[in-house]
């Protein structure tokens, strides 16, 4: 009996992974702009889902649960990922010494980024990126996005709005006045 239940559970999880793997991977790829990292994140998210599979499979949308785990993992690890990338890069050119002028660097990155949605997304904060990807790629409503990000609908609206403004600026479509990119912005909630 126990073995049969375990077999059913394993088969159920395997077919879920077959079905949900690609959509989750595409979301992760938009969130981190690196396929290797996206694969690692989806793997980690699916392993977490597997540990609670008996409970997860009874919920209406297991994919939504897995996506929520994935988004939270991505946001949680974003600072660590950025620092690690920076550290390794610094070690690669230890003799470089002088860092570029930040303003010139920003201008240069804007020129590079025009027309490249991946690079433009990478310039947003982790939560802005998540809000935009969930709303405009996964097609979630503001309420669903708020659930995924564990915040209010107002925060989703403001985070998305800032992210879109920044994105349009970077993609050369928009209003440069709204180009501020500040992690603290994310705590602001619009009622």
């Amino acid at each position: 009996m126990g073995a049969m239940h375990r077999k059913e559970s394993t088969e159920g999880f395997d077919s879920f992974v077959t079905e949900a793997g690609l959509p989750l991977l595409r979301t992760a790829y938009l969130l981190v702009d690196d396929l290797g990292e996206a694969e690692d994140l989806v793997q980690e998210a699916l392993l977490r889902v597997a540990r609670y599979w008996d409970r997860v499979r009874s919920v209406e949308y297991p994919l939504a649960y897995a996506r929520r785990v994935l988004v939270n993992l991505t946001i949680d690890q974003s600072t660590r990922r950025r620092r690690r990338r920076q550290l390794l890069s610094l070690d690669r050119w230890p003799e470089s010494g002088n860092l570029p002028d930040p303003a010139a660097d920003r201008e240069f990155s804007m020129v590079e980024v025009r027309g490249d949605i991946g690079a433009a997304l990478a310039a947003l904060t982790a939560r802005q990126r998540a809000a935009i990807v969930l709303r405009y790629w996964d097609g979630l409503s503001e309420a669903e996005t708020a659930q995924h990000l564990s915040c209010s609908i107002g925060t989703v609206k403001s985070t998305t709005s800032r992210g879109l403004a920044r994105l349009r600026e970077l993609l050369g479509q928009g209003d440069p006045r709204t180009g501020e990119d500040n992690e603290e912005d994310e705590a602001v909630s619009v009622p």
């Binding site: 790829y29 392993l47 597997a50 920076q86 390794l88 070690d91 994105l167």
Partner: protein, 224 residues
């Protein structure tokens, strides 16, 4: 949705559709392998526990009996062995096919242990695992692309593989990068540590990496 928002949605879709289905299949296989490994480990656990208890019992018995039989004295608790092989008695970090055995007293951690820097970025290939040393040091291990290695000549040989030991800008950070070949091309093992001696990093890497074919092939006669 406005036209601009449609444009963004379309750009996201174009970008997302670049992900090949083979990548999802790769993830599916990795998840299945990991789950199978965990299942095997949990089935094996009771047997390993009993075997470990028997081994410890025999070891303790021999420790007490041997000196009495030979008239000698008992040495310290494996002090020399631990100095010679500081890695291998603590927890392990699994990075793809590499298994990194850590010294006794270390514990795995999800804590941040990388110093902040300000520099451009390089892509990372694989997930990371951190561990805390009993002395308060911290170690992060990961596999990174081979473009992360410095342009200088290697500073250390690890099991015959070229390695680069560098010190971070804050002085107490030591990094070891070791380039090694795999079936899928060259990989680089990166050990990024704070307040952990360089020789410990080298030992951890040496125990994890297979010997370089270049160092093993000439060994036709008795080796070791």
């Amino acid at each position: 949705m406005s036209r601009q928002h449609n444009d963004i949605a379309q750009a996201l879709a174009d970008r997302a559709n670049q992900v090949p289905e083979a990548a999802a299949e790769r993830v599916r296989q990795r998840v299945r392998q990991q789950l199978d490994r965990e299942a095997r480990r949990s089935r094996r656990m009771p047997i390993v526990g009993i075997a470990a208890a028997v081994v410890v019992g025999i070891g303790v018995g021999a420790g007490f009996l041997l000196p009495a039989v030979t008239g000698g004295s008992v040495a310290g608790p494996a002090g020399t062995a631990q100095r010679d092989t500081p890695a291998g008695t603590g927890p392990t970090i699994q990075l793809d096919s590499l298994q990194l055995s850590l010294p006794a007293g270390y514990r795995l951690s999800g804590n941040e242990c990388l110093p902040a820097t300000t520099a451009p970025v390089v892509p990372i290939r694989s997930s990371t695992t951190s561990a805390l040393a009993p002395t308060g040091g911290c170690l992060t291990a990961e596999l990174v692309p081979d473009n992360a290695i410095p342009p200088s000549t290697p500073t250390v040989s690890v099991s015959g593989h070229p390695g680069w030991l560098t010190t971070g800008t804050n002085g107490n950070t030591t990094n070891l990068l070791v380039e090694f070949p795999t079936a899928g091309g060259k990989h680089v093992l990166a050990l990024i540590a704070e307040d952990i001696p360089a020789d410990v990093l080298v030992t951890i890497a040496r125990n994890a990496l297979p010997p370089s074919p270049a160092t093993t092939s000439p060994c036709a006669g008795p080796c070791g």
